[in-house]
């Protein structure tokens, strides 16, 4: 049976990749949406390679005993069995998206940029924004495009030290390993839960200006909430950095 090890490993790895991309949105917990086509192609190629490897092994086994100057023995390289760990994890218990634990360990970051005028916000009230868009406009927009607008944002709840709470979203540029934290402080009695950490909320409210633009005093930005509604975790739990 060991001689079918390589084929089985390839099928398992390919199957795991296809399961999280082709049959659902689970891959969004780990990587960016743009990687999906490449993952599907890789998964299919691995399955195909596994099948041909299995068939060739069977043919060799039946026909002439094959000479293997392989250096690894019949079962292929032994270190390859480590691939079963992520593959089985993805197939049986897909690990959850990162949440408040990761956000709490990581001092929230903000992309440093110069203060300047931003393009106008799209029309409509309330206007749908990501936490990243809201934060950079709140901190760096000399045109103050947020002023007088009602905005709506989705994220999960994290708690500060002194009773403050935040709407938080992890920002990912490539995969979950590089996740950074974006957060907005929520004020106003209308939104008071008290919500437990990791609850996903859609919060509507208005910008509460604070500190001078571009300084540490303006961080984190504040939203005066008028309503907060519990929602399901979005398919893509992260924001693109």
């Amino acid at each position: 049976m060991r001689r079918y090890g390589p084929a089985a490993l390839l099928l398992l790895t390919g199957g795991a990749v296809l399961r999280i991309t082709l049959f659902g949105d689970l891959y969004l917990r780990y990587v960016q949406p743009a990687l999906r086509p490449y993952l599907i192609v890789s998964g299919a190629a691995l399955m195909l390679l596994g099948l041909t490897t299995g068939l060739t092994t069977a043919a060799h086994h039946d026909g002439h005993g094959h000479g293997h100057g392989h250096g690894h023995g019949v079962g292929g390289p032994r270190v390859a069995w480590l691939l079963t760990l992520p593959a089985l994890a993805l197939l049986l218990f897909p690990p959850p998206a990162l949440g408040s634990y990761s956000a709490g360990r990581d001092a929230a970051q903000r992309a440093a940029q110069g203060v300047g005028a931003f393009p106008a916000l799209p029309a409509g009230n309330p206007v749908e924004l990501t936490l990243g868009e809201f934060s950079s406009r709140a901190m760096y927009d000399s045109g103050r495009s947020l002023k007088g607008r009602t905005v709506r944002m989705t994220g999960f709840v994290t708690h500060g030290d002194d009773g403050t709470w935040y709407l938080t979203r992890l920002q990912v540029s490539c995969c979950a390993a590089d996740a950074g934290t974006g957060k907005v402080e929520i004020r106003g009695t209308a939104a008071d839960g008290p919500w437990p950490a990791d609850t996903w909320l859609t919060v509507t409210g208005t910008w509460h200006p604070k500190g001078r633009l571009g300084t540490d005093a303006a961080w984190p930005p504040v939203l005066d909430a008028t309503s907060a509604k519990q929602v399901k975790q979005p398919a893509d739990p992260y924001e693109k950095r």
Partner: protein, 331 residues
């Protein structure tokens, strides 16, 4: 003719038996695990453990397409490109071949997982190790995808892209020359695979399967190490060191090794480390694609442990020095 049909039938029958037996076994295991698993898991699955698994699988999933691309290219080189092609393309003199190979790194659009198997198969195809190593270091750092990502991450600061290009290329070429002058062949242990006569489609399949499984195992090992550091060392520890310019360069150079951010994304991470001076962030982007835990594991698997230890430690030093020089000159 009759025998061939008989063989085919026997083969199909055997395949069916294996499929049924394997399928039944898998279903049995899956049932037991999915019933018992949650009970055990509830106790062990604390937030840090869950975050470890997520980061671990994320690095593995992210790496697989690039690793497959790299192994496809390397298997194709092994199976379809005869040695004389490289002999004609590269200058005979290693001192000249090194910079040529370093610049040629710009053509492999991928992150660092792809370049290790390609460099291995170049060596097997008779390319001087010094040149193949220069290619190994430069490919993930200076290809167009990475440079464009860098310019997006640092808008309005083209000197950051130029600094990255110059410092990475310099490191790759210097390392190639150092290997040509001081390297010893006995440090380098290339896995001797299928007979040298093997050529064509069958050799391609065998090489692809072997290279992918081999490198994939080491990718998983590196992902586990990176996830462990990601969970154990909080990034906020870094803020303590932002004061001193020298310390911050060294610190970010160590962080690049530990975090294993893929080279197409590291510019965004570097941009977010806003408390650090530009030279330190440049060092993060120069070291990361050349030395990190996942790469050390991959290189140890492909070229042997004694090679990986020597090569990665010297590369780290050279990369830090050249990014300090490039930073002093350009930033």
């Amino acid at each position: 003719m009759g025998r061939a049909v008989g063989d085919g039938l026997r083969l199909a029958g055997r395949g069916l038996v294996y499929a049924v037996l394997g399928g039944v076994a898998l279903i049995a295991i899956a049932t037991v695990v999915s019933v018992l698993g949650p009970m055990v898991a509830l106790d062990l699955y604390t937030p840090p453990v869950a975050a470890w698994w997520t980061v671990f699988t994320a690095i593995a999933v992210q790496g697989i397409p690039f690793l497959l691309l790299g192994t496809v290219v390397s298997a194709a080189i092994g199976a379809f490109v005869p040695e004389r092609v490289f002999r004609r393309l590269l200058p005979r003199n290693p001192a000249l071949a090194v910079p040529v190979a370093g610049v040629a790194g710009a053509v492999l659009p991928g992150c660092e997982c792809a370049s290790v198997p390609v460099a291995g198969s170049l060596m097997r195809r008779g390319v001087a190790p010094a040149a193949a190593l220069a290619f190994l270091l430069s490919a993930p750092a200076i290809n167009p995808v990475v440079l464009v990502a860098t310019s997006i991450a640092f808008p309005g600061r083209p000197e950051m892209v130029l600094g990255r290009l110059v410092a990475s290329l310099a490191t790759a070429v210097v390392m190639g020359w150092l290997w040509a002058r001081f390297g010893r062949d006995e440090w380098l242990r290339l896995p001797e695979r299928h007979a040298p006569a093997a050529f064509g489609l069958r050799a391609f399949g065998a090489g692809l399967q072997h290279d992918f499984l081999h490198a994939g195992g080491f990718l998983v090992l590196g992902a586990a190490a990176a996830a462990t550091f990601n969970i154990v060392v909080p990034r906020s520890v870094l803020d303590v060191f932002t004061g001193s310019a020298w310390l911050s360069v060294l610190l970010l150079a160590v962080l690049a090794v530990v975090l294993c951010v893929c080279s197409e994304a590291d510019a965004f991470v570097a941009a977010s480390l806003s408390g650090f001076p530009p030279t330190a962030r440049l060092a993060f982007m120069v070291v990361g694609p050349m030395v990190d835990l996942k790469l050390i594991a991959l290189q140890a698997g492909t070229f042997g442990r004694s090679f990986a230890v020597r090569f990665t430690s010297v590369t780290w030093v050279v990369a830090v020095v050249s990014s300090v020089l490039a930073g002093w000159w350009l930033l």
